[in-house]
């Protein structure tokens, strides 16, 4: 038995050569992606993952893990299996959007025309 400085460990009567069977696959369950909302009205933000056996447990662990400090209004947990994501390799699919200046407010410059028009009216 281990003789420890820790009374809790002495009470647990632990043998020093307590070899155990290795943990099997999914012993630590599956993972849930955690989305955290700081305060009402904010977006939920992805903050990390927890391992849990079911969504209720994932929510409890997410509260412990990601709601420990500061403000929390709300938390979502989503099973990692249910997240369908784009890949960084395909990041070029987003590139065309910057060319589409006609969809941006900055794509419309009218002041030059207005000033020119005003000038021509005065003349």
């Amino acid at each position: 038995m281990i003789e420890s400085l820790d009374p809790r460990i002495n009470r647990a009567s632990i043998s020093v050569d307590n070899n155990i069977e290795p943990l099997g696959t999914l012993d630590q369950w599956e993972t849930y992606e955690v989305f955290h909302q700081k305060k009402r009205g904010d977006q939920h933000m992805h903050v990390g993952i927890v391992h849990a056996a079911n969504p209720e447990m994932a929510l409890a662990f997410a509260k412990e893990q990601f709601g420990r400090r500061g403000l929390t209004a709300n938390i979502w947990v989503v099973n990692t299996r249910n997240v369908f994501a784009s890949t960084y390799e395909d990041a070029d699919i987003f590139e065309t959007t910057t060319d589409k200046i006609y969809r941006e407010a900055g794509g419309y410059k009218v002041m030059d025309k207005i000033n020119q028009y005003k000038k021509s009216q005065k003349a």
């Binding site: 400085l5 820790d6 990390g48 993952i49 056996a53 990692t80 960084y88």
Partner: protein
């Protein structure tokens, strides 16, 4: 809290041969991305060596958080006063939470949490050497909370600027929580150091016991540990062991002296010309002996961990769902 990741000194020489079978074009793009200060994300291409070293480092960091909770946890039941008991419980719970964050970050690189725990409890994976020493008195717990956490913060703040996205994000969160640990530890040490002669003696003795492990904390001297070059290029490691040790001495030796406490190293002094601290070279043979299992608490720490896994097993089994396939988490 955490010590610097330990890497076998003779592993370094292998690095170049490992890189030989990487695609040079992909490797160049990868290195350019790091050079530009971009983060590497889990599904990005990365050299096998980068993945391997990061897994080892993040995993060791995670194990250190779990094992580090043991010497501190020793004092929860006997912390003097209700307020300190609450604070110590919160701190220990933080540390265990940090392990969860770190295991998750390592998991994104492809090593399952089960595999990491198995490697810990069989003694295959390392953890920070300092936690193989016992916390004899309440003052030991105070010195750990102040100075070990101080060392950890120096290391973690540096690594939070590293290249692997999930590790950096975990470290940012961890550093925020650690700032309370440091303040709490300092408060406890100040209370003892400004208290009765017996309290002063108790904290001085604890400091004497913890000084050698603290000096070991940042890892072997750069003079004998040559593996850092490529890890620093890849921003896996952000500062050399000796630089972090210097930074620690610079920040904390004056604070120790302020309290009228002494450091048990008669050679310790700041060289005003170089601006560097001079100290007695730590005993690296002792460091090696302890990290390889020969320390006073190695056997106890792992037996306690195995016991926890074994006694919790039925709960984990009982809660298992019907899911059969494992999915690597995203970030």
């Amino acid at each position: 809290m955490y010590g610097n990741a330990y890497i076998e000194p003779n592993e370094a020489s292998k690095t170049h041969s490992v890189l030989a079978d990487e695609d040079p074009k992909l490797l160049a793009e990868f290195e350019a991305r790091i050079e530009r200060g971009e983060k590497i994300e889990p599904k990005d291409w990365m050299p096998k060596e980068y993945r391997k070293q990061l897994i080892r480092m993040i995993e060791q960091h995670g194990h250190s958080e779990i094992i580090g909770a043991l010497p501190e946890g020793t004092w929860i039941t006997r912390a003097p006063g209700f307020k300190r008991k609450l604070a110590l419980m919160a701190k220990v719970q933080d540390e265990v939470g940090h392990a969860q964050l770190l295991y998750s970050a390592a998991e994104t690189l492809g090593k399952s949490r089960e595999a990491m725990i198995n490697d810990l409890i069989t003694g295959k994976s390392k953890y920070s050497n300092v936690f193989n020493y016992p916390a004899f008195t309440w003052a030991d717990a105070c010195v750990i909370a102040w100075l070990i956490d101080a060392g950890a913060i120096i290391n973690q703040v540096a690594n939070a600027k590293g290249s692997y996205g999930p590790y950096c994000r975990a470290l940012d969160r961890i550093c925020t929580e650690e700032s309370f640990h440091l303040k709490y530890g300092h408060d406890n040490v100040v209370t003892l150091a400004t208290g009765t002669p017996i309290q002063r003696q108790m904290v001085q003795e604890a400091l004497n016991r913890w000084w050698p492990p603290i000096m070991h904390f940042f890892g072997p001297s750069d003079k004998i540990s040559s593996h850092t070059e490529i890890l620093m290029k890849w921003k896996v490691k952000m500062a050399t062991n000796d630089d972090m040790r210097q930074q620690f001495l610079n920040m904390y030796v004056p604070k120790i002296w302020d309290l009228g406490l002494t450091v048990p190293d008669t050679n310790l002094k700041k060289n005003e010309t170089t601006g560097k601290w001079e100290y007695t070279e730590p005993d690296w043979d002792e460091f090696k002996r302890v990290i390889n299992g020969g320390g006073p608490c190695n056997a106890e720490r792992l037996a306690v961990r195995r016991n926890a896994e074994e006694r919790g097993r039925w709960v984990r089994e009982a809660l298992k769902s019907g899911q059969t396939a494992y999915v690597v988490p995203f970030a």
